[in-house]
Amino acid sequence: MARSRCARGLTLAVLLLAGLGVARPASANPLDAFGFGSRGAAMGSAAAADVQDFSANYYNPAGLALARSLEVSLGYFRADSYLYMNGQNNQVDPVHGLVGGLVAPGQLFGVPFAFGLGLHLPDQRLSRVRALPQDQPVWELYDNRNQRVYLAANLAVSPFKWLQIGGGLSFMAATAGSVDITGNVDVLKVESSEVRNQVSADLTAIRYPQVGARIAVNDRLAFALVYRGQFRLTLDLDATLAGDISLGAAGTPLTTALYTLQTDSVNAFLPQQVVVGSSWSPIDDLKVDLDLTWVNWSAYVAPVAQVSINLDIPPPQGGWPASISPPTTPVATAVIPIVMHDRVVPHVGAEWRAIVRPKYQGFLRAGYEFDQSPIAPQTGQTNYVDRDRHAFSAGVGVRLVKLTSVLPGDVRVDAHGQLSVLPTSLTLKSDPSDLVGDYTAGGHIWNVGGTVTVGF
């Protein structure tokens, strides 16, 4: 008994270290907006206290410990945005790709234990890097942040029947690169210029933690608490341009120019989140789930590049020819901070086991999520466009029991559809000479997908 307690304590310590000690600030993922896996998406992402498949890697790692057999899941989802400003479709990129993962349960020193992997693999682009002018209108929460891969690995234990604890890491990649250009520039015949360039870039791994706990009050009521860490995805670029400036191919160099540029930006930022969830089964075949997610949007860092430029072109002997106006050093970007407010996002979902047969079961699901826009009204120079989002979802599922002797576990097939409505409203500019001016913004997003889970 003493050994068992020691093992439990050791496992907990390992999990906490894995979740907190190794991580450093890390970026955004599409799962916050569109859910992970068809069951969770259909139930409005209200799943923190009611999840035990691969999607627990996102919703609540503690749920992995509830798994009783090895499961492998694979699915696909597609979210198409129809977002408009002034009635014009801004053609925000769709998000689509594979989702999947596995859950591998077992015993560790007699304690139920599980390992999980979760993956969202976009089939269009793994990551998208954009640093736009801060006055350019952009759908800040839908344009770029959702275009990225998501990978999470978690461990979970169930030290007591009523308690599950889990945690792990999610992984992202940040970009750092440099461009060096050297050579000779002929100002009279640019095509005769000779330049050489060298490019190097690194994708560096960024990790951020998630931990969760689930407490079962009884067979019909459970609560959950989940923490997801903050991360920022950076884009750091350095450029150096050094070379001679001459008049004519055979001309003596007039002068030597040096131009250096350093740009640092946060390409995507995922604020830390705390989820309080509950799951209640008023009758055997019905589950009603409620999650409240606190999102620390006030810590958000806008993806605007901070540019530092140094331009050194000493005048040639005798001064510049009258026909040449040497460039001057551009003014450094003055970044206007984005103002965002913390939000509590409610998620509600329900699942009804509508059909119960010896060989199969059928499920109907529905959910709702309300995301109040965290971005302050854009009355000034910046244009981080966002609107409140009402997400209505529904889905169906089938569980096939012991389908064949090759598959002793269950086979589950789930599908979902989600409609996010962003009511159109006005953005009014306080400065009449604003070059963007007043605009309306709103639209909707369709999200559909399916997931197949095979148990062994």
């Binding site: 400003m85 002034n86 682009r125 350019q136 952009v138 770029n144 009449p432 001016g437 007043d438």
Partner: protein, 373 residues
Amino acid sequence: MRASRLWLLGLSCCATLGGSGLGDVGLPTSGVGPFRELVASEVHDAPYVLDNEAPNYREPAVLPGNPGDASSAEVVLYAVAAEPAGATGSRDVIVRTHADDARSFYGTSLDTGHTPPVVLTASAAWEGASVGGPSAVQIGGQIFLYYAAKGGIGLARSPDGVTFAKEPAPVLAPDATVAWETTTPSAPSVAVYPDGQIRMLYAAGDSIGEAASDDGLTWHRLDADPTTPAIDPVLTPGPPAAPGTLEDGEPPPFDTGQVGDPCLAPRTTADGRIQVRVLYTGFIGTPGTTGRASAIGFAARYGDSGPLVRQSGPVFAPGHHEAAPALFEWSGNSMLYVQLDETSTTPPYSAIAAGFAPAQDTLAGPGAYPGGP
């Protein structure tokens, strides 16, 4: 056969690249820049749309060529041209041309054999020798062509935009009681507001003033600041930068010497507010300064009265003494016509060039020159 199909399927799945991202299509804009110069692939003689050494085309004004179709790029352009020296010496006249694509104007230097016809010359004693500063607007089925002359701002009307009948006297003459008008009113720009009001902006001294009319014939000056007893202009030269306030490399304000050549372009915003948009020429040096730099600025206000608020930087500044902006909009595109100094010849001459917004968009190749003006 089956194996080859599978191979092709595998190849099609594995050897494809994801497309490039979007998300910035059809973005909202005030339609007034920033503008970029047209490039060689967009216009026959970039960046010029109407040039010829002898006529020295200047001070463009535009009208939609097809007012009932907001997607049409057909545009009519009036400009000042130098008439060859006659018995009474050279003088400035107003000519007319048009383009079907907003760029290829009848009678420009590459449209050989054609010359934009003269539609207005000075003929009354109050006008002096020349007319200039045209502004064309459609009112009640007629084209009203306002122009600047020695004695003030005149008006000529036409049913077809080619043959004009002048009013016998200036519609806006100098008023000695208006202290800031140290020169005769000139460079008129007239527009009909979305609610039907007719307004005129004009240049005088180093500032821009405003006048109103019910019929386009009788005008009275408006006071931009009713809290003072005097009639005030709607836009004055910008204040110079305070010492030590400019960042390294930051250019000084571009319009501290004079503001002029207003181009009035009212519109209704998405909220139903009237936004009075004004493009203008900003000069760093005061009037009379030789070779002073200029750039095109933007100022605006919400509502139908009061002073204009300026954008801090210019919206078009290629650095060739750009002046006298005129704006034409169609299908979310904005074309800015300005006069530029062409310095490749001696002496330099003026020609009309164009800038385009949204600056990140690219126009298809230019069309053919039209068969008539």
